[in-house]
Amino acid sequence: MNNMKKSLNERLAILSDAAKYDASCASSGTVKRDSSKSGGLGSTEGSGICHAYAPDGRCISLLKILMTNFCIYDCAYCINRSSSNVERARFSVEEVIWLTLEFYRRNYIEGLFLSSGIIRSSDYTMEEMVRIARELRVTHKFGGYIHLKSIPEASPLLIEQAGLYADRLSINIELPTDSALTRLAPEKRPANIRKSMGELRLKIEAAGEPTLQTKRRKRFVPAGQSTQMIVGADQTNDKGILGTSARLYGSYGLRRVYYSAFSPIPDASKNLPLIKPPLMREHRLYQADWLYRFYGFGIEEITENQPDGMLDLKLDPKLAWALANRHRFPVNINTAEREMLLRVPGLGTKAVSGILSARRHRRLRLEDLARLHVSIKKVQSFVVTEGWTPHRLIDRSDLRAMFEPKPEQLALL
C-alpha cells in the first residue's frame, strides 16, 4: 500500500467513485431558504436543480461523496466492503466543508450528500458527519441542501442532532427481503434498519406539531427520509420489491424509495452476479412505483397479470395493465372521472388536470389532446372523444404488437 498522503484531488476521485452507487441525488421538497436575511451562502426553493448530467444520464445535483471508504462492514454488494481491495481514503471534516462551500460558490451543486463507510464505530462515524452538517449551517451560514446518510446502529440522539441540520436523512434498506440482506450483509440487521426509520418518522411527526408556547413548528428533516433498494443482486421478483416499497411508504412516510440496478463493482464478491445492470427493469420499477403513489394503482393490480411477478420489460406497466384489462376501455375523455382518466395509457397527471380544466368549457377532440401534449398514437386506442371512437381497435389481437418496441438488430460485440 502507498503510504504517501494522497492529494485532495486523488482522494476526491476515490471518495466520489465510492459514492456513485447511491442513486439518490434529489435536492427537492425541502423548506424555502434564502440567504438575503442571514447574509450567508445558499438557498433552497422547493424544486431542486440538476447542475450537470453525467453520460450515465444521471443528474448531478449534490456533491455526493463518502467521508471515508474504510469500512468495518462486509456487505457483498458494496464496493467499500472490508474484504475489498479497493483503494481507501478519508476526508477530514474541514476538507468536506471546504469542498462543499467552494463547489457551491461556483454553482456546480445544490448542496452536499454525505455518506460514509463505518470507521471505529457507528456512533463515531455519525458524530463526524453531524459535525460537518452543523459547522456548515452554524459557522458558515450555509443555506444549501444537506442530505446525510444515517449510519446503521448510530444512537438515536445523534440522528436527532443530524435532523436539526440536514434537509433529508436516509438509511438504505439495501435489499428487498430480510433473508437476502442477512445473507449478503452479515453485519446489517434488517430489523434495526426498520426501527431506525420508525424512530425517525416519529421524530419528524413530533416536530411537525406546533409547540404550545410559540405555535411554531420545529424544523426537523424538512425534506423527509428516503431509502434505496438494490435490484438484481438477489432473486426477489418485482412483485416482492414493490410490496416491500409499499410497506416502507406506508410505515415510515418515506418520500422516495430509490431502486438501484445492481451494477458490477471492481473487485466484486464471488457471491454476486457479474452482469450488466438491469437498467430497463429499474426503469419499470420506478414507473410502477409512480403508478402506486400518484395514479391510484394497487401493487396487486400492477403485478397480477405478469408471469413470475416480473414487470413487462417491453411495455410500461400502465400500458400492460390496460391491455390486460381491455373491458375498462375505451374511456370517454369528456365524461370519465379523474381516477379513470389517470388509468389511460399516455395520460399523465398534468394532462389529466388539463383535460378536467378544459372540458368544463368545451367538448374535447383528439386534436385538443395533442395540444395538451398527449401522444395521440398512444391514447387513441383507449379513448373516446368528440369525433373519435376507436371502433374495435381496443379488441384487436395485435394491439400489443402495435406498442412493442420494434425489434432491433443485435449489436455486434
Binding site: 476526491l12 476521485a13 466520489s16 467513485d17 459514492a19 440567504s35 438575503s36 447574509g39 450567508g40 445558499g42 438557498s43 426553493e45 440538476c50 450537470a52 448530467y53 453525467a54 453520460p55 450515465d56 444520464g57 444521471r58 443528474c59 468495518i72 462486509d74 472490508s82 474484504s83 475489498s84 481491495n85 469542498l99 463547489f103 460558490r105 461556483r106 454553482n107 456546480y108 443555506g143 427481503t177 426498520r194 426501527k195 420508525g198 416519529l202 411508504y249 406506508g250 410505515s251 440496478a261 451494477s263 458490477p264 463493482i265 471492481p266 473487485d267 466484486a268 445492470p277 437498467l279 388539463g354 380544466s357 378544459a358 368544463r360 368549457h361 368545451r362 385538443d368 395540444r371 395538451l372
Partner: protein
C-alpha cells in the same frame, strides 16, 4: 396596418402600454405589425412607423383594460421569449380575452397552447441558467473583504433580469457578475444591478474547475451509459461554457473498456484488516446479557422472534410492559401503527382510550402489566398509511408461546382480555365475546379473567350515542378490574368468589 416597434429585451411595460392603447382603439390583431428594434425583421422594410400615441390624458381617465391575473404572469414570462411573434400572440390573446373571459382555462386552444409553450420555453431557459451558470473566482489575491466571482452564460431568451434575483438570494455573501450576450446582472452585497446591454465573453479560468472535473468523471458510472438522457437534459449548446463538458466524449469512449477492466478485477484476496475485523467480530458475540428467568431475558428473546412471517413487515416486536409482580395483566389484540414505531404497547389512539379509562378508574398503569396477544403489527399498506388487519388463528397460536411465558413469569391475579383475539389467545374459547363480557371468570387456579371489548372497537362506532354508551360500559369494566386490584392489595389472602363459568376452559397452563 399599424406598425409598433419595441426594444424587445424582456420588459413587459413597453408592450403593455402599446397594447393598452391599441386595444382602446379596438385595433384588430391582424392590423398590427409588431417589430423589434435591432431585430432581423425591421431592417427588411426600412424604418418602422411609430406606435400610435396613447391619448394624452392622465392614466386615471383612460378606461381600464382588465385581464385575468394569470394572463399577466404568463405575459411577464412570454415577453422574455426571443421569438418576434411573441408580441403578436400576446396581443391576440389579450384581444380575445375581452370577449372570452375564460379563454385561459381552455388549455387545448391553439393560442393558449402556444402561450404556454412559450412560457415553458422561458421557464426552462431560466431553469437552465440557474443550473449551468459557472462562477469563476476573480481577484482572489487582491484581498477584498468580499470574494468576487464572474460568470459567462448564453441564454436563449431575455431572461437575465428574470433569473437574477435567484442568484442574489443564493450567493448573498459574495460579489458576482453574470455576463451574457443579452445583458448583465451584478450583485455587490447592497444592490442588484441589471443591464440589457450585450456583454462579451471574459474567457476566465478557475483552478477549482479541476476538482469539479475530477468529481464529474468519478461520479459517472460507466456500466450505465445513457447518453441520450444526458443530451436531453444537458443539450450540447450549453457545453462550451461548462468546464466538465470537455470530459464527456472521453468518458463515453472509455466506458466499455472500464467495465471490462472492472470485470477482470473480480474478487481478489481480502486485505489484512478485513481478516482482523472478522476475527474481532467472532470474538464478540452480539447478545445482550440478561439474567435468566426474568422478564428482561424474555423480552430480549422476543426481540428476535421469527416464529411467524409477521416479523418481516413489522418494525419490531412490541413486547409487554410493566412490573414483573403486577397483580393485573391487560391483554390486547396486537400493536398498531404507533406501537409498532415506538416499540411500546398501547401508545396509539386505542392506547389513549385505555389510559383515560384506567386513570378515571384509578388503575395505575405503572403497576399493571400491559401486553398483546400478538406481538407484531399486522397490516396492509395503503398509500401513505397502514390499515390494521386482524391476526389469524395461526398467528395467534404462534404468538401464544410468548403470552404463556409472560403469564407464567408475572402470575397475575387478574387477567383482562380486551377484544376477541385476546379472549381466543387466553381461552381457546369459541364463545362470543358479548356472552362473556363483564364476567369474572376462572382462568386457572387462583387466577381470574375479565372479558371486555378492545378500545379500538370503541373508536370505530359511528353512532355518537352508542359510542358513549359503550365507552361507559368499558370504563365500568376497567373500574371493576381496578377495584379488584385495590382489594387484592388490602386483603391479599381473600379467596374470591367466582360465578359459574360454564364451559370456559383455560388454554394456558400456569406453572
Amino acid at each position: 396596418m399599424v406598425t409598433v416597434t419595441l426594444e424587445g429585451r424582456g420588459d413587459l411595460t413597453e408592450w403593455r402600454e402599446a397594447a393598452r392603447t391599441l386595444l382602446l382603439a379596438r385595433t384588430e390583431p391582424r392590423m398590427i405589425d409588431w417589430r423589434c428594434r435591432n431585430g432581423a425583421v425591421d431592417d427588411l422594410f426600412g424604418p418602422a412607423a411609430e406606435a400610435p400615441q396613447a391619448p394624452n390624458t392622465a392614466a386615471a381617465s383612460v378606461p381600464a383594460v382588465t385581464v385575468p391575473k394569470a394572463f399577466l404572469s404568463l405575459a411577464q414570462a412570454v415577453i422574455c421569449h426571443s421569438d418576434p411573434l411573441r408580441f403578436q400572440l400576446l396581443y391576440r390573446i389579450l384581444f380575445r380575452l375581452q370577449r372570452e373571459r375564460t379563454l385561459l382555462q381552455v388549455l387545448s386552444d391553439a393560442d393558449v397552447a402556444q402561450l404556454h409553450a412559450m412560457e415553458k420555453s422561458v421557464r426552462r431557459d431560466c431553469h437552465k441558467m440557474t443550473a449551468f451558470v459557472r462562477f469563476k473566482e476573480i481577484d482572489a489575491e487582491q484581498g477584498y473583504a468580499r470574494r468576487r466571482f464572474l460568470a459567462w452564460f448564453e441564454p436563449d431568451h431575455h431572461i437575465v433580469a428574470r433569473a437574477a434575483p435567484f442568484f442574489q438570494r443564493r450567493f448573498t455573501d459574495m460579489d458576482w457578475i453574470i455576463a451574457t450576450p443579452k445583458g448583465t446582472a451584478a450583485w455587490d452585497g447592497d444592490a442588484l444591478t441589471i443591464s440589457t446591454e450585450p456583454a462579451a465573453n471574459p474567457m476566465l479560468v478557475d483552478s477549482t474547475d479541476r476538482l469539479w472535473q475530477t468529481y464529474f468523471s468519478n461520479i459517472f458510472n460507466p456500466a450505465r451509459l445513457k447518453v441520450k438522457m444526458m443530451m436531453t437534459e444537458m443539450p450540447k449548446k450549453y457545453w462550451k461554457n461548462l468546464p466538465e463538458a470537455e470530459l464527456i466524449p472521453g468518458l463515453i469512449a472509455g466506458a466499455e473498456a472500464s467495465v471490462v477492466a472492472m470485470a477482470e478485477r473480480a474478487a481478489s484476496e481480502a486485505p489484512l484488516f478485513h481478516q482482523r475485523l472478522q476475527a474481532l467480530a467472532r470474538a464478540e458475540p452480539d447478545i445482550v446479557q440478561a439474567s435468566a428467568g426474568t422478564l428482561e431475558e424474555l423480552r430480549e428473546e422476543a426481540r428476535h422472534c421469527t416464529r411467524c412471517p409477521l416479523h418481516c413487515s413489522a418494525t419490531q416486536t412490541v413486547f409487554g410492559e410493566g412490573p414483573q409482580d403486577a397483580r393485573i395483566m391487560i391483554v390486547g389484540e396486537q400493536p398498531g401503527d404507533q406501537e409498532d414505531l415506538a416499540g411500546r404497547p398501547f401508545v396509539g389512539p386505542a392506547g389513549a382510550v385505555f389510559n383515560t379509562a384506567a386513570q378515571e378508574a384509578g388503575l395505575d398503569r405503572k403497576e399493571t402489566y400491559v401486553t398483546n396477544a400478538v406481538k407484531h403489527f399486522k397490516y396492509e399498506p395503503r398509500g401513505k398509511r397502514r390499515i390494521h388487519q386482524k391476526p389469524n388463528v395461526g398467528e395467534v397460536q404462534h404468538c401464544k408461546w410468548w403470552l404463556t411465558r409472560e403469564l407464567a413469569l408475572i402470575k397475575p391475579k387478574l387477567v383482562v382480555a380486551m377484544g376477541s383475539t385476546a379472549l381466543m389467545a387466553l381461552t381457546d374459547s369459541r364463545q362470543r365475546l358479548a356472552d362473556l363480557r363483564g364476567e369474572m371468570l376462572q382462568l386457572s387456579h387462583g387466577q381470574l379473567l375479565l372479558v371486555t371489548v378492545h378500545p379500538a372497537y370503541l373508536l370505530r362506532i359511528p353512532d355518537e350515542g352508542r359510542r358513549l354508551e359503550e365507552m361507559a360500559r368499558f370504563r365500568s369494566d376497567i373500574a371493576r378490574a381496578a377495584s379488584f386490584g385495590r382489594q387484592a392489595m388490602s386483603h391479599p389472602a381473600v379467596e374470591w368468589r367466582v360465578p359459574a363459568t360454564g364451559d370456559i376452559k383455560p388454554s394456558i397452563g400456569v406453572g
